[in-house]
């Protein structure tokens, strides 16, 4: 019997016809994709291949043999095994077994420390939340969420290495002694995070060792940005000047390839999203269009920021500067500008010829001219409230131009959105300086998180390193740089060390250890501090044996004394803050020192900019990777498995090209088919891929190409990226650090080798783009050649594809003409509910779960319907207007809910376990409209006129996170044969794992495809070892002894064969409720009465409004997720997101017009609802009429 196919209702005629798609397959209507839509899991994910069947049959026989042999033994010990409770000997203060403790700390990054509150269970840090008390807090991101896993990474370096061989702390201490005795020249290369303690130690080390010099390096920060900022805001090259952004004050934003909401953080995404909500993010008022910010984006490949943009121009990397110059020219011509500003801009623009730009708009230069001049006009009109951001990866010319434009727009200074600041990073040399400094008499310390041997272009760095007397690397991984150095010292994770950092606006923030170093790692501060103090050791006494030779201390000193890093941070704090314990304890509790921002710096002369050499033809654009950053997180399983937010590729990188370029390269059809052609050799092995192969199941193969630039050549799989600039290839850096399958251009790594450059997670992941990268982040392509080979890719864009009408909805602040009825923004918002075809006519749902009294129950309360709780009813609202699609929620959920990773092969088969699926759609109007708002037709014919190709090639990007919707009429519940998934009184769709027998009927019946099935024991057996999952009880367990320490003890670890899905973080809800239940005792004590005389009301038991947050909600950098008690009428944020305070005749409150339920016409009554996305296009722009219409219909 075939499955019943839901007949989706028609799209209302008054809606604009939209083409929306997730993948090439969907756009081209491939039959394979259609099959995906109709299945609950991708075909093959629920089937065993021949090979699997064979191994499971053999495994079964083995198991039977083994168990019958053992049964004799087993009978003897029939009683349950003894288990033990081992309490502390001396209970530490504050620790209550079973209750978490929270500490404020900071994750240091080059973009400013990320303020955190760390959840620890009996000393184990398990989850990182943002510190909302901190001035720069309130937002998290995927990298931060996943950084806790790095602490427990089984591949973490834990052994001192000398020339690649195992060494010891003692031997290294001796070597360090040698340096302290006879220092010679010392070069110390650190990261670009701003640690005041390190800065202080730097000064002290420089006076102790006059020949010591400090340098800083981060792969993705861009030398151009550093040079330009230092030259304009400072006086020299190492002044450590930066610019901070305050989006609260920004009405208009022009981003020149700056992914400030994604991988190139500038300013606070929280503030940006507040302005995106047009005055107030608490949903108490509708969005005021005039208070909304507007974002213009010029970029090469789609970024998350580009996805939020109201207007977007796709441009090759070399042309971004040219487009920027055109906008600058228009700004320059404005009357309102001072002569000085005009002169400064002219100093730049005069060196450039006028750009035709017609090819951006299908050969119409007028449109281009209109685009740049209207953009410039809009920025000028809002001078003082508008700003220009240039991408960090771009050259100095673009940076200087952006500064000049900002000066002209009066964007700097108090009250303006930008502020030049003086950071504490002054006096650190650049990488070039480093390479020039190092000689044969130099000792090199590499302390930063970067991996320069891998990520610097060419081999100059390697040469410099090799020429040094000796080199010492401190790092969490034995990466390429560790292997190239004389010494490698295992580093302490930031959750294991004392340190400090400046957050984005310079607030002094503290790092405190949550746990002693698991693998005896050494922190940077500890190393520098001891290098400094050892200068004063009396070596004569050591030689004579009167004093003991010093041994490098880490974690804690002898007899439990504090780490030297603690004393150093205390000294710094005494300088910056106050002396004494009171202020210190206060700062430690808060995680920061209030009122300690950076000093401001005013911009000076921008200087002239000469035009860089022109680049013709195909270019390659190097991207920062949203998952692994510059490659430092390559061994982080959560991040590797989180699909790239744009390409939806997990575990790999690929060359992204626009459909047009793909066609020119001859790979478009190959990408679209995705069917394997067996005569092609396949790079890398994907075992157990089921056959026959369809769609993007385990058999998805991308065609390989070889790209040659002047710097080198690389082989890489090619994928189509919509909205990508033509004549250009984008590749994320950081991948391809080590491989065991002999892939081209990658260091050979052996699996389970403790000193390999990558561990089991990072091995065979992606291709090394640094091989073709010269200086900078774009290069001219000399040759690109399609190869015969194909490469298996784990693309998840089609997995669990939801099917229906008006899934994601969008409106525009501009008036939209619908069939002669002009519709204002307010009317469009009112109409959001009707975008889903029959939503407005759908009959009220009748609950199937009315309980008609039960045999055991004589209580009337219990006969009420199942959603009966009068105290708490949980609900969630996800605001698509501020959702970036960034994966922070997805990774936070993984950390909170013990979600396993499944490995590339399992992901390729559609077996990923993420409870949140980050859907992303591309969409564009299909047809042109005439002046009445009707579909335009060719003169006198019925042929509808399609939108121009440049509109179609630059579609809108719509992200939509989907997890279990907790439907009140949940289709999954009615089909479960064992009642493993049932409703709770509080409106949760509960999942009882121990009851589930794995029929998967529920997943089959879920219209949102939100359920995940444990096909294997992913939690117990390591999915990354080849064929390991199929070995059942004989499989190798998780490698390493620590990963289980990260687990949340309040969430069951699921086993093979059970279904799982979002629970609304029920463990958090229950603990909040239980805490509230103490109120009876508290009231009794307060009243001084007998407990029977004190009543406890429903209001007493209701938890404080919005006091419980789900993991995804807490992590969201734009606060797009509201969650809470929908019975907190006019109080909880989620109530406001779903309702307005306008009371209707029936006594109910009118719904928030922007709020809607996905697939409401199916009648599921989901508790998770969505708010429509709002675009704020500039009416005068040539592309304005195509924006803000992206309502997604997939059926």
């Amino acid at each position: 019997m075939s499955k019943r196919i839901w007949q989706h209702p028609d799209i209302p005629v008054e809606e604009t016809e939209i083409t929306s798609w997730r993948s090439v397959g969907e756009l081209e209507k491939s039959p394979a994709f259609q099959e995906h839509l109709e299945r609950e899991f991708p075909k093959g994910s629920g089937h065993l291949s021949e090979e699997e069947r064979e191994s499971s049959r053999r495994g079964f026989l083995k198991l039977m043999g083994a168990s019958s042999a053992l049964s004799g033994l087993a009978l003897v010990s029939c009683r349950r095994p003894e288990s033990y409770i081992v309490p502390y000997k001396k209970a530490p203060e504050w620790v209550i077994p079973g209750k978490p403790l929270f500490y404020a700390s900071t994750r240091p990054t080059a973009e400013g420390g990320v303020p955190l509150v760390v959840t620890t269970f009996e000393g184990r840090p398990t989850k990182l939340e943002t510190n909302r008390e901190h001035p720069d807090g309130g937002a998290s991101d995927a990298l931060t969420q996943a950084s806790v896993l790095n602490l427990y990474d089984p591949n973490r370096s834990r052994i001192f290495l000398n020339k690649g061989k195992k060494s010891s702390r003692k031997a290294f201490s001796k070597a360090l002694t040698g340096i302290a005795k006879e220092p010679g020249k010392i070069a110390i290369l650190v990261g670009e995070d701003d640690s005041p303690t390190r800065n202080r130690l730097r000064d002290e080390l420089r006076s102790a060792y006059p020949a010591a010099k400090f340098f800083s390096y981060e792969a993705l920060r861009g030398a151009g940005r550093r040079t330009a900022n230092n030259a304009v805001f400072g006086s020299g090259s190492d002044d450590g000047c930066e610019v901070t952004v305050d989006f609260e004050k920004a009405d208009r934003i022009l981003s020149l390839d700056c992914d400030f909401l994604g991988v190139d953080p500038h300013g606070s995404a929280v503030e940006f999203s507040k302005r995106r909500q047009g005055g107030g993010s608490d949903y108490k008022h509708n969005i005021a269009a005039d208070k909304m910010n507007r974002l213009y984006m010029v970029e090469t490949a789609f970024s998350l920021t580009g996805g939020m943009a109201d207007h977007r121009l796709r441009s090759k990397p070399s042309e971004i500067l040219l487009v920027a110059v055109e906008i600058a020219r228009k700004i320059e011509n404005a009357d309102q500008l001072s002569a000085e500003a005009k002169k400064e801009l002219n100093g730049i623009t005069k060196n450039f010829e006028i750009l035709d730009g017609g090819y951006f708009f299908g050969g119409n230069p007028k449109d281009f001219s209109a685009w740049v001049s209207e953009c410039a006009t809009d920025l000028l009109k809002n001078a003082g409230k508008s700003l220009v951001l240039a991408g960090s990866r771009h050259n100095e010319e673009l940076q200087r131009l952006a500064i000049a434009m900002n000066k002209a727009l009066e964007a700097y200074g108090a009250g303006a959105p930008l502020q030049g600041v003086q950071t504490g990073r002054e006096g650190y040399g650049t990488l070039q300086d480093f390479q020039g400094f190092v000689g044969s008499d130099t000792t090199v310390f590499l302390l930063g998180p970067a991996n320069p041997v891998y990520d610097t272009p060419g081999d100059e760095f390697e040469k410099a390193l090799a020429s040094a007397k000796q080199s010492i690397h401190l790092g969490l991984r034995t990466d390429a740089t560790a292997n190239a150095c004389t010494w490698h010292v295992p580093a302490a994770h930031y959750l294991e060390s004392w340190s400090d950092a400046r957050s984005a606006t310079g607030v002094y923030s503290l790092l405190q250890p949550m746990i002693l170093p698991l693998y005896d790692g050494v922190s940077e501060i500890e190393l520098l501090s001891q290098l400094l103090t050892w200068k004063d050791v009396d070596w004569a006494k050591v030689a004579s044996g009167d004093e003991k030779a010093p041994l490098l201390i880490s974690g804690e000193g002898p007899k439990g004394a504090a780490s030297p890093a603690y004393n150093e941070v205390r000294s710094t704090f005494a300088e910056i803050g106050e002396e004494g314990d009171t202020a210190w304890k206060e700062a430690l509790k808060n995680g920061f020192l209030a009122g300690s921002e950076y000093a401001s710096a005013d911009p000076g002369e921008v200087g002239d900019v000469t035009k860089p050499a022109e680049t013709e033809g195909l270019e390659v654009n190097f991207l920062a990777d949203a998952s692994i950053w510059d490659g430092r997180y390559i061994d982080n399983g959560w991040l590797q498995e989180a699909p790239d937010p744009i390409s939806k590729l997990s575990w790999d990188n690929a060359a992204l090209v626009s459909p047009k370029t793909a066609k020119e390269l001859g790979v478009y059809d190959a990408i679209q088919e995705l069917e394997p052609e067996s005569n092609f050799p396949i790079v890398g092995k994907v075992k157990n891929a089921p056959k026959p192969l369809i769609g993007e199941g385990g058999n998805a193969r991308a065609p390989m190409a070889e790209i040659t630039t002047s710097a080198g050549r690389m082989q890489v799989p090619v994928l189509v990226a919509f909205g990508h600039a033509d004549d250009c290839i984008s590749i994320a850096v950081g991948y391809g650090q080590g491989a065991s399958d002999g892939r081209d251009g990658t260091v050979v790594a052996r699996e389970k080798d403790p000193f390999a450059v990558v561990g089991l997670v990072g091995i065979n992941a992606g291709f090394n783009a640094n091989a073709i990268r010269g200086e900078g982040f774009s290069a001219k392509v000399e040759k690109v050649e399609k190869l015969k080979a194909k490469y298996p890719v784990a693309l998840v864009q089609e997995h669990n594809a939801m099917n229906g009408r008006a899934l994601a909805r969008e409106v525009s602040t501009n008036e939209v003409n619908h069939h002669g009825h002009p519709r204002s923004f307010e009317n469009q918002v009112k109409n959001v509910a009707k975008q889903g075809p029959v939503d407005s006519h759908a009959p009220e749902n009748i609950s199937l779960y009315k309980r008609k009294g039960s045999a055991w129950e004589d209580d009337e309360d219990k006969q009420a319907d199942l959603i009966s709780d009068k105290i708490h009813q949980w609900g969630m609202a996800i605001d698509l207007n501020t959702c970036l699609g960034c994966n922070a929620c997805l990774v936070a959920c993984q950390a909170e809910n013990n979600i396993p990773i499944v490995g590339k092969e399992q992901v390729a088969m559609g077996r990923e376990m993420h409870w949140i699926r980050m859907d992303r759609y591309f969409a564009t109007p299909t047809y042109e409209r005439d002046s009445h708002g009707d579909v335009a037709k060719e003169n006198g014919t019925k042929n509808k006129i399609k939108v121009p190709a440049w509109v179609f090639e630059n579609p809108e990007f719509v992200p939509q996170p989907v997890a279990c919707m907790h439907c009140e009429n949940a289709p999954c519940e009615t089909v479960c044969p064992v009642n493993a998934t049932v409703h709770t009184e509080e409106g949760l769709n509960a999942m009882a794992y121990n009851r589930c027998i794995g029929t998967r009927y529920c997943a089959n019946n879920c219209p949102y495809k939100a359920r995940r099935f444990n096909f294997f024991d992913y939690n117990k057996n390591n999915p990354l070892i080849d064929h390991n999952l199929y070995k059942g009880p004989f499989a190798e367990a998780k490698v390493g002894d620590a990963p289980h320490l990260q687990r949340n003890p309040n969430v069951s670890v699921r086993m093979r064969g059970v279904m799982e899905k979002c629970t609304y973080c029920v463990q958090r809800l229950e603990s909040a409720k239980i805490k509230q239940k103490q109120i009876g005792r508290q009231k009794t004590l307060k009243a001084g009465a007998h407990s029977t005389a004190v009543a406890v009301s429903a209001d007493d038991l209701r938890i404080k409004v919005d006091s419980v947050r789900t993991a995804c909600q807490d992590a969201c950098p734009t606060q797009a997720i509201s969650f809470g008690n929908i019975l907190d009428v006019k109080k909880s944020q989620v109530w406001w997101a779903k309702n307005t305070d306008h009371q209707q005749k029936d006594g109910n409150f009118a719904p928030n017009p922007r709020n809607y339920s996905v697939l409401q016409y199916v009648g599921t009554v989901p508790r998770t609802t969505y708010l429509a996305r709002v675009k704020n296009p500039n009416q005068a722009m040539p592309d304005a009429k195509y924006r803000g219409l992206a309502t997604i219909h997939t059926a």
Partner: protein
């Protein structure tokens, strides 16, 4: 041809079938009884590293439960006391008793056999990993220790007194009135409702004096808004 099988063999298959039927039924009945927590768990009484006597400490000396299980009102887990809790008294009381040697091995640095290894108490009450029982949610709402652990104050060696099966939990969650008592009496393991109600005057909502546990339970349930849930996520997460 001779008859190989004598006549009585004709009924043999029937006899075998009946016997097998009884044997099968016996196995089923036996399994249904002996494989349940009621038979498997109740009475489990392992030997502990220190023969701690609850009857002595609680029953005779009158220690409150919360002296040792100090976080029971705050945490999900009713903690087993850390060694320093024992040592608070026993550094003065019967310090040299041979029974206390394991404690001193763990805690007393002056003790000859000191090795610093923490005490390993044998777990008596063990719920499966997927059950999240929370002590504080119960003791703060008028459910006494006795309801689940029995009269520990009379146990010389602790044993499991109740089955702790899911049915056991649900019995109470469906009818909490059988177990609710005033908060003051939660840790009083000798509490007797009838006796208590004759000694203390507790009036119900309509002003009548309560005299039975059932009425008291019903009154407290309404008075304290007790809504013991029986949906899955109450205990399984």
């Amino acid at each position: 041809m001779a008859n190989f099988f004598p006549r009585w063999t004709n009924v043999l298959p029937l006899k075998i079938a009946i016997c097998l039927g009884f044997a099968g039924a016996g196995v089923v009945v036996g399994f249904a009884y002996y494989a349940t927590p009621k038979a498997q768990r109740v009475g489990y009484q392992p030997a502990q590293p220190i023969a701690y006597d609850h009857a002595l400490h609680v029953g005779q000396l009158g220690l409150d439960c919360r002296y040792c299980h100090s976080f029971v009102e705050h945490s999900g887990q009713a903690n087993i006391p850390s060694a320093n809790t024992c040592w608070n008294c026993h550094q003065h009381v019967r310090k040299d008793s041979a029974k206390l040697a394991p404690l001193r091995r763990a805690y007393d640095k002056d003790f000859a056999g000191y090795d610093g290894e923490p005490l390993k108490w044998v777990r008596v009450h063990k719920n499966p990993d997927y059950v999240f029982f929370n002590h504080s949610a119960h003791v703060n709402r008028g459910v006494s220790c006795v309801s689940c652990h029995g009269k520990v104050n009379e146990m010389e060696v602790v044993f499991q007194a109740k089955s702790h099966s899911m049915g056991f939990c649900l019995d109470c969650h469906r009818s909490p009135e059988n177990h609710l008592r005033p908060l003051e009496e939660v840790f009083n393991l000798d509490y007797d409702a009838e006796k208590y109600l004759t000694e203390n005057e507790i009036l119900d909502a309509s002003g009548n004096r309560i005299s039975t546990q059932k009425d008291l339970g019903k009154f407290l349930k309404a008075h304290w808004n007790i809504q013991s849930k029986d949906s899955c996520s109450t205990c399984h997460r």
